[in-house]
């Protein structure tokens, strides 16, 4: 027993897939029960460890000696499988703890997916397993498969073939469908896990585990929501350096988000956050289940390309053009063939054949033409990948050509190949032969392109500089100033900062801001104005008033004291009229900044992935232009640069149509400083610098809005004090 208590986290996790002993609580002789299928599948999966069915009534279950309780089992249990009604699960955990069991797979439903009672039960379960140091997959899941152990603890009907794809799914039904389909398509898996409600273990741990699993070459995910967003990104970034991760995130449409949220009880985050997070994590995202496997099988069969330069070899014009279009849609280019290639092709192909990319061997082209073309493309340094298209023409001999493709591919294993045998009955044998020889082969050319594009997307991820880069440090930032402002704001019972407070926060992080002070009386306004000097900007300030321009609460270019005092009275009167219940209303008196190109830099905290930053066209029409690029904090110098370069306003900053080139370096640095600011102060939930003026002399943040979370602020304070 003592030895067992010393299991490492890794061993507890591995026990789910390679247990020496498995106990199935709820194992049944009744074929209509889940507990029947679980044991049945386990028995026929070829598992060679010990199995202990636990059943209150029967002495034997499916021919194996059964035990009434866990206590009666004579040996230590590595993995406990639970398939009993949810109200009994809690007590079972006590028994399991007494037996020193650490790995628990809970199939049972009836937890948070059914409502508040279930949610409460699930919370109690979580508290219990934490107390006992147990790890749980599920509840409300379909189970798991490891085809190398081998072991199948699911309640599906289908078998699963051994292969090198690892699959993690948040939907159980999707798994049953895919397993059944995979048998037909001859696709094999290393591990297959249904995570259910993700009470404890979720995709994050499983990706890490599969990342180190020698039998898994590609990791596939079906996700409805990611709960531990930051960890997800961190782990994926680590794992994708070793093997690709391909994911479907459902619930990306508005209606879909609703369906997903009512499905497993997870709050689906904004689609933008997911897109940005997958990008940052280096995860290849696809929209269709079929694409997931098209790309995945290509990964497991073909090498990675050195470039995105595609060479298309075809015997028909139409399919070649379609493939060309799709290459462009998917970020591939058509390789300019070298003169050697072109000249040799000219010498060997029919005079009417196209010797530029796409290479068209014509309908008369047979095995010989395909062989020459493919061999030349393989040898051509300009070509990174090859798509072979064959349409059924009179002379076409699909099997013969398939053999050529297989042969060349074997002789030149460093360049990836995919194939489209464009037809039906006539092509069947050729397609089969190709697939048997690990050449991704499809009926339609679009898919052939997609397969190669997937390889390139992964290669591009691996060669990203920002993947290996740390965010820049800014040693002169004044953390204590920001801390004091936040403390006083929270102490005053607020979460939104006044304009002058926000400006001070930005300034503390080295962001250029105009001098700003708040006045509550006319006299104070005059005093401040004399200190700052005219011309000035005046802005209404109140924690209750957020859109100042809507109530004429911003005056620009105040020239003298007369204008100042008149405007002061007018603005306060207007604000009082529009917001009679506003607790406090004053006026920010601000130095007038020289107008530059108007940008926006903002950050909003996503519940799953943390701070999501934007940069783009600012001013009052930000929402109209929607010219913004997104990135997840921490943002590196390269990422900040790429974000800015992705906006339309970037060309204006560069001096489009004879304008002066703005200080782009300062714009990028401002974004990096904002990233550092919210990293240092995670209690900041919303920050908007709009507008940020940019011109040739630098940038100026003329309006800053900040919202913090009281809960987070207090948490941060607590963490600091301990």
């Amino acid at each position: 027993m003592i030895k067992l208590l010393l299991l490492s986290d890794r061993e507890i996790l591995e026990n789910f897939f390679m247990p020496r002993t498995v106990a199935v609580v709820g194992a049944s002789n009744n074929p209509s029960k889940v507990g029947y299928s679980l044991l049945h599948n386990l028995l026929r999966s070829g598992y060679d460890g010990k199995i202990f069915p636990v059943n209150l009534k029967d002495e034997e279950v499916q021919g194996i000696k059964a035990y009434r309780t866990l206590k009666e089992i004579p040996e230590h249990v590595d993995l406990l499988v639970v398939s009993i009604p949810s109200p009994y699960v809690l007590d079972l955990m006590d028994e399991a703890h007494e037996r020193g069991i650490k790995s628990v797979l809970i199939i049972s439903a009836g937890f948070k997916e059914i409502g508040p009672e279930g949610a409460m039960l699930e919370q109690k379960l979580l508290a219990k397993i934490r107390e006992y140091g147990m790890r749980v997959i599920g509840p409300n899941c379909l189970g798991l498969i490891d085809n190398f152990t081998p072991l199948n603890i699911t309640f599906t009907k289908s078998n699963s073939k051994q292969g090198n794809l690892g699959f993690v799914s948040q939907s159980g039904a999707l798994i049953t469908g895919i397993l059944d389909w995979s048998v037909k398509e001859d696709i094999g898996f290393s591990k297959f896990v249904s995570v259910g409600n993700k009470l404890d273990i979720d995709e994050v741990e499983l990706i890490e585990l599969m990342g180190e699993d020698q039998h898994t070459k590609v990791i596939l995910l079906y996700l409805e929501a990611v709960n531990k967003g930051r960890e997800f990104i961190e782990v994926c970034r680590r794992v994708v350096k070793k093997k690709p991760i391909i994911a479907i995130k459902s619930g990306t449409s508005k209606a879909g988000a609703r369906a997903a949220s009512s499905h497993t009880g997870a709050m689906a985050g904004a689609n933008t956050a997911y897109t940005t997070a997958f990008e940052k994590a280096g995860v290849i995202r696809v929209d269709r289940i079929e694409d997931l496997f098209t790309i995945a099988t290509t990964f497991s069969w073909q090498p990675l390309p050195r470039s995105n330069q595609l060479c298309i070899i075809t015997n028909a014009g139409g399919p070649g053009i379609i493939a060309t279009d799709h290459a462009e849609f998917n970020g591939l280019s058509l390789a300019p063939l070298s003169s050697t290639t072109i000249n040799t092709l000219k010498q060997n192909l029919h005079p009417a054949a196209a010797t530029h990319n796409p290479i068209d061997v014509l309908g008369t082209g047979g095995a010989k033409e395909y062989r020459i073309s493919m061999e030349l493309a393989m040898k051509d340094p300009n070509v990174g990948m090859i798509l072979v298209i064959l349409a059924p023409q009179e002379m076409t001999k699909p099997v013969e050509i398939a053999e050529v493709i297989i042969d060349i591919s074997k002789r030149f294993p460093e360049k990836p190949v995919s194939v489209s045998f464009f037809g039906g009955k006539e092509m069947e044998k050729g397609l089969e032969l190709l697939k048997r020889n690990y050449i991704p082969a499809f009926t339609f050319p679009e898919k052939g392109v997609l397969a190669l594009a997937g390889l390139w997307r992964y290669q591009a991820i691996l060669s990203r500089p920002e993947f290996y880069e740390l965010p820049r440090e800014f040693p002169s930032v004044r953390k204590e100033i920001v801390q004091n402002i936040f403390d006083s704001v929270v102490e005053q019972g607020r979460v939104t900062l006044l304009g002058s407070e926000s400006i001070a926060v930005a300034q503390a992080y080295g962001i250029r801001v105009p001098q700003t002070e708040t006045a509550f009386t006319t006299n104070e306004a005059v005093e401040i104005a004399n200190r700052i000097g005219y011309p000035l900007v005046m802005k209404i300030t109140s924690p209750q008033i957020l859109h100042k321009t809507d109530i004429n609460g911003v005056r620009i270019g105040i020239q003298d004291e007369k204008e100042l005092t008149d405007a002061f009275a007018e603005m306060l009167r207007a604000a009082r009229t529009h917001f009679p219940h506003a607790k406090v209303i004053g006026v920010d008196i601000q130095q007038l900044a020289k107008k530059g190109t108007e940008l926006i830099i903002g950050v909003s905290k996503d519940p799953q992935f943390g701070h999501l930053a934007i940069i783009g066209t600012g001013g009052i029409y930000t929402n109209v232009f929607e010219d913004v690029q997104f990135g997840l904090v921490p943002i590196t110098h390269t990422e900040a640069t790429q974000m800015l370069e992705g906006t339309k306003v970037y060309s204006i900053l560069q001096g489009a149509r004879g304008g002066k080139k703005a200080d782009i370096g300062s714009v990028i640095e401002t974004l990096e400083r904002v990233s550092r600011l919210v990293q240092d102060f995670p209690q900041m939930v919303d920050l908007d610098i709009n507008p940020l003026f940019a011109d040739e002399t630098g940038v100026m943040a003329v309006d800053v809005k900040i919202t913090i979370s009281k809960e987070e602020h207090q948490k941060q304070k607590q963490e600091e004090s301990t």
């Binding site: 997916e113 019972g493 919303d686």
Partner: protein, 349 residues
């Protein structure tokens, strides 16, 4: 035996809650201090009841608050007035025997019932009490209230020991302190303290709102003592919801029961209660998440507009009760800043 009457120039300055907090402070200093509200203006007035519970007072409610006179009783006959005064005196005599210091809560404003000669001014004269004037400190114009109050009591030779600025926006607290200094300098009226306007000091609890709306708990009733500082209506696009909900803390969010996604977004932020309107039951995911986040979800039959209108016209009063630990703690902090010693000195002189 010293008597202190807390009076106010306007309603809703937080008189009752301040009185409770003051008494708690005085008693913690070992002073035998009691509560007395001679007249209330409504049968529904629960002030004395709350005081009895909060301070654990042994007296009957009929002693703590012997008389009720509403706005519709101004045609009261002489003998009615006399009867009321007798009852007040009787209560007072009873309390006098027990306490060294009686804190008397004035009814509504300083001049309420002055036509019947039963306003705070007459009360103070009759009960030999000195006045502490509570004024709303929202704007600098409260200074006028102080002067008005001072001269009103001065006319009857009722001594004023000082004033307290209540409801001062925390953002201008320092400024208001300077103004208080100027007031004392020019008028000799002592400003004995400033109370910042923080939601937590006066906020009602979830349950107080639920009772008022006659709403039904769908889950998490065990968290009904959470305080509600603000109200937000969930009527926006899902995309901007988080940003909007984040700008408010300890809030009640009112939205249609057919907008579960918005309810989920609200629960990601600092929300005290979700009020679902239209009598539409939410999907179980909403209630499951509420359970995880410890946020009560309640349902009303009214539509959103009616609910909001009702809340706007029936302001809920947040009373100070012992089960609201956060509120009690905040008030204790505030009372430490009030010049209690100066107050006691003025009472003794």
């Amino acid at each position: 035996m010293k008597n202190l009457l807390i009076a106010s120039c306007s309603e809703r300055t937080g008189k009752t809650t301040f009185t409770m907090a003051l008494l708690r402070k005085l008693r913690s200093k070992g002073i035998q201090a009691g509560y007395f509200k001679p007249i209330s203006s409504s049968k529904d007035d629960r002030d004395a009841e709350v005081a009895k519970e909060f301070l654990d007072l042994p007296e009957d409610l009929s002693v703590l608050n012997p008389v009720t006179i509403t706005e519709w009783d101004y045609d009261m006959k002489e003998d009615g007035i006399e009867q009321a005064m007798n009852r007040i005196k009787k209560s007072y005599d009873e309390l006098k025997r027990v306490y060294d210091l009686l804190v008397i809560e004035g009814c509504r404003t300083i001049n309420y019932l002055s036509f019947l000669k039963l306003s705070s001014r007459e009360m103070a004269g009759m009960l030999d009490a000195k006045i502490l004037l509570l004024v709303s400190g929202r704007t600098d114009a409260q200074l006028d209230d102080v002067l008005l109050g001072a001269s009103y009591f001065n006319d009857a030779e009722v001594p004023l020991i000082g004033t307290i600025f209540s409801l001062v926006p925390p953002e201008i607290l320092e400024r208001e302190k300077a103004i208080a200094g100027r007031l004392t300098k020019t008028t000799d009226i002592k400003v004995l303290g400033l109370i910042p306007d923080k939601g937590v000091l006066a906020a009602p609890t979830v349950d107080e709102i639920v009772q008022m709306l006659n709403a039904k708990y769908l889950c998490c009733e065990e968290y009904k003592d959470r305080i509600v500082e603000d109200f937000q209506v969930g009527a926006m696009e899902l995309e901007s919801a988080l940003k909007f909900f984040r700008r408010s803390v300890n809030k009640a969010v009112i939205l249609g029961g057919d907008r579960p996604a918005l309810a989920l977004a609200a629960m990601e932020t600092d929300t005290s209660v979700v009020i679902l309107t239209g009598g539409i039951y939410p999907p179980s995911t909403v209630l499951a998440r509420a359970q995880e986040r410890k946020i009560p979800v309640v349902m009303v039959q009214w539509d959103t507009y009616t609910t909001v209108q009702y809340l706007a016209t029936h302001q809920v009063r947040g009373l100070l009760t012992l089960d609201q630990q956060e509120k009690v703690k905040e008030w204790d902090k505030i009372m430490n800043e009030i010049q209690i010693e100066a107050m006691l000195e003025s009472l003794a002189s």
